[in-house]
């Protein structure tokens, strides 16, 4: 029984030795391709980690205000700073994912694939069902015009949660736009 840990430790060492040498045995092209992929992946991980820390800090900030350890003025100041940094992180994450129109691109490719006719057996001809075609719902002009930031006036997309310019949350940003006031 006492020999088992020795065997496990030796095996661990030998496997680690192999993996230490292995990177130098493969072709350099494969490593170069992985380098590029790694660059993006690592940046995404770092941004995601930083976003997680910001969320924790925001949570603590709200708590400190609730228990009167922070004045309202200081709370707003820190909150804006954290949210602005959060916006920058999410903007960068969006770029890494393929840009602002990534949703549209994915929807187009999906529609293209789903638009092909399915293979149907003779017995099932009557049961052929049209393959569903994904429809892309573009926001209407009215929707876009109705959503603009009350702080800086930047036009907001229909699915924006934060203003891309000043970082104000859209739940606050759209509260006082002319369109929403008119409809109310």
């Amino acid at each position: 029984m006492t020999l088992l840990p020795i065997f496990i430790a030796c095996a661990f060492t030998l496997v680690a030795l192999w993996f230490m040498i292995a990177p130098f045995l493969g072709g350099s092209d494969a490593h170069l391709r992985l380098e590029h992929l790694d660059e993006d992946l690592h940046e995404i991980e770092a941004l995601a980690t930083r976003r997680s820390v910001l969320l924790t800090s925001l949570r603590e900030l709200e708590f400190d205000r609730e228990v009167n350890k922070l004045t309202d003025e200081d709370y707003e100041k820190f909150r804006r700073r954290y949210e602005a940094e959060g916006v920058r992180i999410m903007r960068r994450l969006t770029e890494l994912h393929g840009g602002d129109k990534w949703q549209t691109r994915v929807d187009d490719e999906l529609a293209d694939k789903l638009g092909r006719q399915p293979v149907v057996s003779p017995l099932q001809e009557e049961e052929v069902v049209e393959a569903p075609v994904a429809t892309v719902v573009e926001p209407s002009d009215e929707q876009n015009e109705a959503r603009s930031c009350s702080d800086c006036g930047t036009v907001l997309a229909f699915d924006d949660n934060f203003c891309r310019s000043c970082g104000l949350a859209t739940s606050i940003a759209v509260m006082s736009t002319p369109a929403t006031e008119a409809s109310a």
Binding site: T2, L3, P5, I6, I8, A9, C10, F12, T13, L14, A16, L17, F19, M20, I21, A22, P23, F24, H31, L34, E35, D38, L41, H42, E45, A46, T49, S52, V53, S57, R59, E60, F63, D64, E66, V67, N68, K69, L70, T71, D74
Partner: protein, 720 residues
């Protein structure tokens, strides 16, 4: 097997150097090839260390006395618990244990952060591997635990463990401290990586904050267990003597505590960048310094069994890493300037800064008191002793200031405290203190203090009163903060109070875990204030005579001698009564192990209650048992020190409990890692209870439990 162990140590050393080279290349080029190779070189080095550790453990458990270390620190009669303890019972084994823990932490750090801190990790690995290489060089060339006897000298029996170490607490105390020293290497690695890369954003702070609690926890446990051992085994009635070796382990605890608080400030406000880096470097260097002064013979201590001839090598280790750290710090100094400034001296940030200064002062006092006798002897040839009275004269007022800051820091505002904030947050704790403090002090004095005939000096009485008042203030401030938080959550989420408290604790583990730790410290301070009221009597007493201490009457009824193949135990029978009624019998003893007759051990008998400890030690006796010299202590509130330790452990576990995000980061192979992390945390939090179970069920090493050992020849020494 010994050969395999030696090969493993040498291989680990070589792999460490290879890993350093590969990780330097990875750090400079940031290429995948070198990053992977460097990471796995570190894993391989760690694996070789694990192999060596497994070989030593195997040799101990199979009683392989051909290995000198096994023969010197174990024998065939030792139960499993003590055989494992023999691993770190001697110099070489304790060094191998330290190296193993560093390897374990490095492996865990590499695995957890395999996709994070890409810029920093190669340099973290370089730093930790450098520490590993230094330890392995000492193991390989100076203190090899696998040295064997020549065939003609091969002994068949072992010497066994030093009698003083034959208690469960002393099996846990050394590895706890060693783990504290070893785990300090990882946050040190992050600090050095920040210096090397010049990246002083909060990245290294985020990483270090997660790790710094681990060494702090182990140092807390280790120091506390050492105090318990001193209390139960050494017979002088106290748990902290400002012994140089105690101080050596206390100094990094002080700086690590300061660092935990100041890291919060950098994380929140971006301040104290230079301060935090220097504090982190200092905390690690103090662990090496502490080991050096303990093992070099530079200082005299009850820990003389830990001294060896490797002091000079540790001095070289210390000087090398100190030089590298100072140079790196000096080079990067201009770039570490914080953009943020302190807004007001009346703010949470200022309180934390004052708290840090206080911890540094305390560290300075302890360092001076520990080293000055040696420095003065070396420079001027004059011998001087600095004992507990000197330390207490300085540390007591600083401890009280620390309590005050603990309370202030809990409820004061960030950035700038206002009159409105003061009224809102301070009135209740001050009012509670003003009411409860005199009430509780008067209640204790008239209900118990008077009966004990306590007559503290004016100084001691003042400190005790101030300590109790500040304890109440801090407790009230903390409770107010908790209640406010629960009320806020109840308002926001419409939850009942218990649910709100539970969810608040789970969402803000660091904060509420920290509050529990503060509560543990308050309990310890209550014990310190009780120490000022301690009663002590050294007396020679004849059989049948009684001694009055406080309102306890101690009557000596003679001695009993028990002999067995390993030891002779002499136990005194002392009957204790209060107000004419018998309370209990006490049996303090002395044990002489036949293998080490020059090192008898004291077996103290202690009766513990919430209010006070009754402590009796048998100091000496005549051959007929007619006269015995006893040492009797009545120590108010001593029990609260141990309770404080348990609460502190529990609070640290809560603060360290991993969040959902960090567990999610272990998604690949995550199940085993999650089980390992949660298991370790549960083990850590239940350690006090496990220790208590081991003591109560293990017959080895206690005077009271020796009655269970059979066969034994018992002789009453002229008992009435």
């Amino acid at each position: 097997m010994a050969t395999l162990g030696t090969i493993a140590i040498f291989s680990a050393m070589l792999l460490s150097f290879m890993g350093i080279g590969l990780n330097i290349a990875a750090g400079r080029t940031q290429t995948r090839r070198f990053t992977l190779a460097g990471r796995h070189a570190a894993y391989a080095a760690c694996g070789a260390v694990f192999t060596a550790a497994a070989v030593l453990l195997h040799a101990l458990l199979t009683h392989d006395f051909s290995i000198q270390y096994v023969q010197g620190f174990s024998d065939e009669s030792m139960p499993l618990f003590y055989l494992i303890g023999a691993f770190w019972g001697g110099q070489a084994g304790s060094l191998l244990f330290w190296t193993t823990v560093v390897s374990l932490c490095l492996s865990a750090c590499l695995y957890i952060n395999r996709d994070r801190y890409r810029e920093l990790m190669p340099w973290v690995t370089v730093t930790v591997l450098a520490v590993l290489a230094a330890l392995l060089m000492i193991l390989s060339f100076v203190s090899n635990p696998f040295e064997v006897f020549h065939i003609i000298d091969d002994p068949t029996i072992g010497k066994g463990l030093t009698p003083l170490l034959q208690t469960p607490k002393m099996v846990v105390h050394p590895p706890a401290l060693l783990a504290g020293f070893a785990t300090m290497t990882i946050p040190y690695g992050f600090a050095m990586a920040a210096l090397i890369t010049g990246n002083f954003s909060n990245t290294w702070v985020e990483a270090a904050r997660k790790w710094i609690l681990i060494p702090w926890f182990f140092l807390s446990i280790g120091n506390m267990l050492g105090g318990m051992w001193a209390y139960e085994e050494l017979g002088w009635g106290g748990y902290w003597a400002w012994d140089p070796v105690e101080n050596a382990a206390f100094m990094p605890w002080l700086t690590a505590t300061a660092l935990i608080h100041s890291l919060m400030i950098q994380e929140r406000r971006g301040m104290l960048k230079r301060w935090n880096i220097s504090l982190m470097l200092g905390s690690f260097l103090l662990t090496i310094f502490g080991t050096y002064i303990t093992r070099s013979g530079l200082i005299e201590s009850v820990h003389t069994f830990a001294q060896s001839d490797i002091g000079n090598y540790f001095l070289a280790f210390l000087l090398t890493f100190t030089a590298i750290s100072i140079i790196a710090f000096a080079v990067r100094f201009p770039g570490m300037k914080s953009a943020q400034r302190l807004d007001s001296p009346l703010s949470k940030e200022a309180t934390f800064i004052f708290n840090n200064w206080l911890f540094m002062c305390m560290t300075g006092v302890v360092m001076f008191g520990t080293m000055w006798p040696r420095i003065k002897e070396g420079l001027f040839g004059q011998e001087v002793t600095i004992g507990p009275p000197w330390f207490n004269r300085w540390m007591a007022p600083m401890g009280l200031l620390l309590l005050l800051l603990m309370g202030l820091g809990t409820i004061i505002s960030w950035r700038r405290a206002t009159v409105k904030n003061f009224k809102r947050n301070f009135v209740i704790p001050i009012a509670v203190t003003a009411v409860l403090s005199p009430t509780l002090l008067a209640a204790y004095w008239y209900l118990r203090g008077v009966h004990l005939n306590i007559e503290p000096t004016p100084n001691d009485a003042t400190y005790a009163v101030m300590a109790v008042s500040l304890i109440i203030f801090v407790a009230a401030a903390t409770l107010e903060d908790v209640v406010r938080g629960v009320q806020a959550r109840m308002r926001l989420h419409k939850e009942p109070a218990i649910t709100a408290l539970t969810r608040l604790t789970m969402k803000q583990r660091r904060r509420y875990g920290g509050y529990l730790v503060h509560l543990g410290i308050l309990c310890a301070f209550l014990a310190f204030s009780g120490n000022a009221l301690k009663l002590e009597h050294d007396v020679s007493i004849r059989k049948g005579e009684s001694l009055l201490v406080g309102d306890y009457t101690f009557t000596y009824h003679g001695l009993t001698e028990r002999n067995d193949p390993e030891k002779t135990v002499v136990m005194a029978h002392v009957a204790v009564s209060r107000n004419g009624k018998k309370v209990y019998d006490m049996y303090p003893g002395k044990a002489t192990f036949h293998a080490t007759p020059s090192s008898p051990t004291s077996e103290i008998d202690i009766k513990t209650t919430v209010l006070e400890d009754v402590y009796v030690a048998l100091v000496n006796f005549d051959s007929g048992g007619q006269v015995a010299a006893l040492k009797v202590f009545i120590g108010p509130f001593t029990w609260w020190f141990w309770l404080g330790g348990v609460i502190l452990t529990f609070g640290t576990m809560i603060a360290m409990w991993p969040t959902r995000e960090s567990l999610h980061a272990l998604r690949r192979g995550g199940v085993i890692a999650r089980i390992a992390i949660v298991g370790m945390l549960l083990f850590g939090s239940s350690l006090p209870l496990l220790l208590r179970y081991a003591e109560n069920s293990e017959v080895w090493g206690s005077a009271q439990r020796w009655g269970l050992t059979a066969p034994a020849e018992t002789r009453v020494l002229n008992d009435s």
